[in-house]
């Protein structure tokens, strides 16, 4: 019996896997068999781990030869297992945490809102089940499709992909429109079916609480609303050692009514959780990097020798202030000569001069500085980005629109509607952008204000979007100076004063961002603490992997180079003709893979070109080597077939340890 059961399992699994390869109906059986194997292998790992501990601990306690290695093995095993299993230091998965939202548990069956749309759930033999994301919430009753909850965007996508007909897709669109919170709570309130959680974004006001509680008398609903209200009232505060120059309490409330800032004590406070957009807005309170201003052609007609500008006094520079707003009245943004000669980028000139004044700079550093400046963004790039954003997009028809066309008898329905008209930047708007870019400190909201003025109210949406996307990639001026500092240090030395000049602003910015990040973290309600990756960057497991495991693996791999050399010295002997041929071939290939081969036979004329070492190498690898490998692989394949057949049919049981047939 002990031998029979494994043989039966072997036979059944072998036949199933063979059948799965040839019969489409049994594909899933083959996959199931492989999954069973994976499960068994995983369970066997527990045995293996236990065995490892047992063997090595025994060695350690008995102080057998090599017990120190066993001790290291045990310690490494336990530490790695621990940090990996508990995911020590691994932050929760960002896409599951729903930053900015508070959660309260409401079981699905107690969720008070259902929505129905007339129609039928499609049923096909191939897809008997609804998509997993909606299975628990969607049902059919009395000719209506009923949905309990509020339809999320991913659920809508899954339902649209479930069946291709226009009637079904129109039904899904209607359901998506109906199954939403009331207008006042759109974008704030959501229900997530998997954790069965009611979510509210930001801090709930008492009025909102009253409105929500009035929506349903259900106890579960009311207690969830109360919990969300309480979560939204929790005050969190941090002390920010530095603050952006223009950051005021009004600025904070402009970002979010739940935010507050006390300049005296430098306390930054928030009520309830902080969303990612609020965090981003808080962090982006510093001026953007200056652009590379190109010369105005109208000003380049006269070239005059460069006059020196009055340098800044480095000791007077304060962190958080822009260099061009130096405290001294001697600071100039460029002389009239500069402008006449078309040097419309005085900031660059000033930055260089300021660095020169605080210490020597080498020619290489000058090149690096120029290269750094060449990489800065230009106004032309910004205008191009806005122009691209204004290009009209084709409109996509909804499924209901296409269904309506179908019912009207349209024979060839097009999914794409007419192109939206192109939106262009007006000359005054472009001029406003240029003026802003030439200004001392570049704040995006200043630009948006100016553009709003030129547009008579609010700047067009496409411009706002284009600006947000463009400047998302542009660093702040402090970051740009820090990058410049690193590049200059690679090219030569910098004095303490120069380093301080370049890094001071970034230091302040970094401190502010750290404070904002800390506030974000403290204000966040962790939903799934163990959802993160066990090897998340910065975690102890990652550290072990990056700085211990990878170097050790690379070292072991590198041993091959040494062992190949010793094997070559010891074993490669031309003892007969075949061995001599083999060695000759090895020499050709070894030389052909290096420059030495080219040098040795490069002098051969073209008609003897095939004798050049590199060409011979290709010939050997493609013809002779491939032929030999193919022959061996054919033999191996047939050996596998015969062995597998004997094992499946139980003719060969030696792997079970039995010598009998």
């Amino acid at each position: 019996m002990k031998r029979t059961i494994p043989l039966v399992i072997t036979f059944v699994c072998g036949v199933v896997l063979l059948a799965a390869h040839f019969s489409p109906y049994t594909h899933r059986w083959g996959e199931a068999a492989m999954i069973w194997f994976d499960i068994l292998a995983s369970i066997a790992f527990l045995l293996g781990g236990g065995n490892l501990l047992k063997v090595h601990l025994k060695k350690v306690f008995a102080q057998q030869a090599g017990w120190a290695y066993s001790l290291i093995t045990v310690v490494a095993f336990v530490v790695t297992l621990w940090v990996g299993l508990v995911k020590w230091g691994a932050p929760p998965a960002a896409h599951l945490e729903h930053y900015g939202e508070s959660f309260a548990h409401v079981p699905l069956e107690e969720f008070p809102f259902t929505y129905s749309v007339p129609g039928q759930l499609p049923k096909t033999a191939e897809r008997p089940l609804l998509p997993a994301s909606v299975r628990a919430q969607l049902s059919q009753a009395d000719g209506q499709v009923v949905f309990r909850g509020w339809l999320l965007p991913n659920q809508k996508s899954d339902l649209l992909a479930y069946h291709p007909t226009l009637a079904w897709r129109c039904l899904v669109e209607q359901l998506a429109k109906a199954a939403q919170p009331s207008a006042g709570f759109r974008g704030k309130l959501a229900y997530y079916p998997e954790p069965q959680a009611l979510a509210f974004r930001g801090s709930m006001t008492p009025q909102e609480r009253a409105e929500l509680e009035a929506l349903s008398p259900s106890d579960a609903w009311r207690s969830a609303v109360a919990a969300l209200y309480e979560a939204g009232q929790r005050q969190t505060e941090v002390v920010a050692p530095t603050a952006p120059e223009r950051f005021t309490p009004e600025q904070a409330r402009k970002i979010s009514p739940a935010l507050d800032y006390d300049p005296a004590s430098r306390r930054l406070q928030i009520r309830g959780p902080m969303s990612l957009s609020e965090r981003q807005a808080l962090e982006q309170q510093f001026p953007l990097a200056r652009p590379k201003l190109t010369a105005d052609p109208a000003l380049t007609s006269a070239h005059q020798p460069e006059s020196s500008t009055v340098p800044l006094r480095p000791s007077a520079h304060q962190p958080g202030t822009s260099i061009v707003q130096g405290e001294s009245s001697t600071v100039q943004l460029g002389t009239a000569n500069d402008q006449q000669r078309g040097f419309a980028d005085p900031y660059r000139h000033h930055l260089w001069k300021a660095l020169e004044d605080q210490g020597p700079l080498t020619a290489k550093q000058a090149e690096v500085f120029q290269a750094h400046w060449e990489r800065r963004w230009t106004v032309e790039q910004l205008l191009e980005a806005i122009r691209m954003a204004g290009v009209g997009e084709p409109t996509e028809k909804t499924a209901c629109q296409m269904l309506a066309e179908k019912e009207q008898g349209v024979a060839d329905i097009q999914p794409i509607g007419p192109l939206e008209p192109d939106q262009t930047l007006r000359p005054e708007q472009a001029a406003a952008i240029r003026t802003w870019a030439a200004g001392p400190n570049l704040y995006l909201e200043d630009l948006l204000e100016q553009l709003a003025k030129t547009s008579g109210g609010q700047s067009p949406g496409f411009i706002q979007t284009a600006l947000q996307n463009f400047f998302h990639q542009v660093p702040t001026e402090a970051e740009a100076k820090k990058t410049l500092c690193v590049e200059l240090l690679r090219a030569g030395p910098l004095t303490e004063a120069q380093r301080e000049f370049l890094l001071a602003d970034y230091r302040a910015e970094w401190a502010w961002r750290t404070a904002v990040g800390e506030l974000f973290r403290q204000a966040h309600q962790v939903k799934f603490p163990w959802s993160g990756q066990y090897n998340a960057a910065g975690s102890p497991f990652w550290w072990i992997y990056e700085y211990m495991f990878k170097p050790l693996t690379a070292t072991m791999f590198a041993l091959l180079a040494f062992y190949v050399a010793s094997a070559a010295f010891r074993a490669f002997r031309a003892k007969n003709v075949e061995a001599a041929l083999l060695l000759g071939t090895a020499f050709v290939v070894l030389l052909g893979r290096t420059a030495a081969g080219t040098v040795l036979t490069g002098w051969l004329p073209d008609w003897l070109g095939w004798l050049r070492v590199e060409e011979l190498t290709v010939l050997i690898m493609t013809i002779f080597n491939t032929a030999g490998t193919r022959a061996i692989m054919i033999g191996i394949a047939l050996g596998i077939v015969a062995t597998s057949l004997k094992i499946i049919l139980g003719m060969d049981r030696s792997y079970l340890g039995s010598a009998e047939k």
């Binding site: 060839d412 022959a631 191996i636 015969a642 340890g657």
Partner: protein
């Protein structure tokens, strides 16, 4: 007692060397299984390797050139489109067919391509599927076909076909549908493969039956397997253990199973000689299987009390971690014999060189072609590819197991004949330019052997 041949590339066990030494003196049932076939296959492979690439280009040019001027043919717009379920498939394909009619009328125009669209409903919206051009063969047939894949079984599809002319204009679309792809019981694209599997398996089973009926089967001497006993004997004499490494893959790899098969024999011999065999494994499941194998081997040898389960242990799944441990153990414990039987990757040379440095006798067997050169260079004996799989039969000595080897050899003969036929066909097709030869070669290459 035992003289070990070391440091010799050629005298070790490469089939080429064995061929030179007398593997060609094959007796009945033996010849094809061995180096003779290997040599023959290498030369045929050379022939195919040299001839085929040189000829395929010429052949393809011959095929293309057979119908000059097809790009200037005037075609009528397609008059109909037929959509059928593709036969004998997994329900993911549909077959579209439409007629190709050449004519010399004003309606006929030079074609750029056909565009195929699909939709879930007859009114659309239509999604592009493919843009295809007719081949000369299609024009000769007067009919073109296209296989639409990535369809969902049971779902309705509609198709639309439009001809796009060279001047950019388009013909009136023709439609077909609804059609539903159906999953069949058998995947027809694998019919030939199934046939080969049945043929080769049948040959193996027939040869096993033949051997059981009493026909003698002679297998050439495999030096590596002959040396197992001597290696274990040496270890016993020196009072040092043996190390057996069953590869670094899991039980779902046939090489691991073949390795465990040999482990059974090695363990049995060790039990009889009272030698210790240590089996560090790279996978937990291999550890449990190896323990069963060794325990049964000790029982079969009549020495169950000598079995030590702590000699078979799990190290780690990680490739280089495993080899670091094993080499460390080898350097400290200095085993007298090392057996490497299974699937190996980059660690093969590290293991073999370490074994060499401690003076152990090493026998290796693997079916990884890229690792064979390292084992051949550094080990005393190497089982190459099929020798490794034949080990179980060889060591058991049982007639029906040996009979399976004969069936394997028949399979190799079949493979060799197909290579020869294909090379000759391809060469002749290129040399003569005859289309029927090119068609046969194409059939052999893309249908029979797909």
């Amino acid at each position: 007692m035992f003289s070990r041949q070391r440091g010799c590339l050629v005298r070790k066990k490469s089939p080429l060397a064995a061929a030179g030494e007398g593997g060609l003196r094959s007796r009945s049932g033996e010849g094809a299984s061995s180096s003779f076939f290997l040599l023959w296959a290498v030369w045929v492979g050379l022939l195919s390797g040299i001839a085929f690439p040189a000829c395929s280009g010429a052949m393809e040019a011959a095929r293309r050139g057979a119908d000059p001027g097809e790009t200037h043919l005037l075609l009528l717009p397609p008059s109909e489109l037929e959509a059928l379920d593709a036969p004998w498939d997994d329900g993911s394909r549909l077959l579209l067919c439409w007629p190709l009619q050449t004519a010399d009328t004003p309606d006929a125009k030079p074609l750029r391509e056909f565009r195929i669209f699909q939709a879930a409903e007859p009114c659309g919206p239509w999604q592009p599927v493919a843009a295809v051009e007719p081949k000369p063969k299609d024009i000769r047939r007067g009919r073109m076909e296209y296989l639409v894949d990535r369809c969902e079984p049971g779902r309705e599809y509609y198709f639309r076909l439009t001809a796009v002319w060279a001047d950019g204009g388009q013909s009136t679309p023709v439609m077909a549908g609804p059609v539903r792809p159906v999953r069949q019981m058998f995947d027809g694209s694998r019919a030939w493969l199934a046939g080969f599997v049945v043929l080769v398996s049948g040959l193996v089973l027939w040869s096993i039956q033949r051997a059981r009926s009493g026909r003698p089967v002679h297998v050439r001497r495999i030096a590596g397997l002959e040396a197992v006993d001597e290696a274990i004997g040496r270890a016993t004499e020196m009072g040092r253990p043996c190390v057996f490494i069953a590869g670094i893959q899991d039980m779902n790899d046939i090489q691991t199973i073949a390795g465990l098969t040999i482990l059974g024999r090695v363990a049995e011999t060790s039990a009889r000689y009272a030698a210790r065999v240590e089996v560090p494994t790279c996978r937990s499941l291999v550890m449990t299987a190896a323990r069963d194998t060794v325990q049964a081997a000790y029982l079969a040898a009549g020495r169950p009390e000598a079995y030590r389960p702590e000699d078979i242990y799990y190290v780690t799944d990680e490739q280089f971690g495993y080899v670091a441990y094993v080499t460390g153990q080898m350097v400290r414990q200095r085993p007298a014999a090392c057996f490497y039987m299974g699937a190996f990757f980059a660690e093969s040379l590290i293991l073999a060189e370490t074994g060499n440095s401690i003076g152990a006798i090493q026998v290796a067997g693997t079916a990884m072609p890229s690792q064979l050169p390292f084992f051949v260079a550094a080990c005393d004996y190497t089982l190459i590819g099929e020798e490794f799989f034949a080990a179980s039969a060889y060591l058991s000595g049982q007639p029906d197991q040996l009979g399976a080897l004969w069936g394997q050899d028949m399979g190799k003969l079949l493979a060799g004949c197909l290579i020869l036929v294909g090379s000759v066909l391809a060469t002749l097709a290129a040399a003569t330019g005859w289309e029927w030869l090119a068609d046969w070669t194409h059939f052999l290459q893309n249908t029979l052997l797909q």
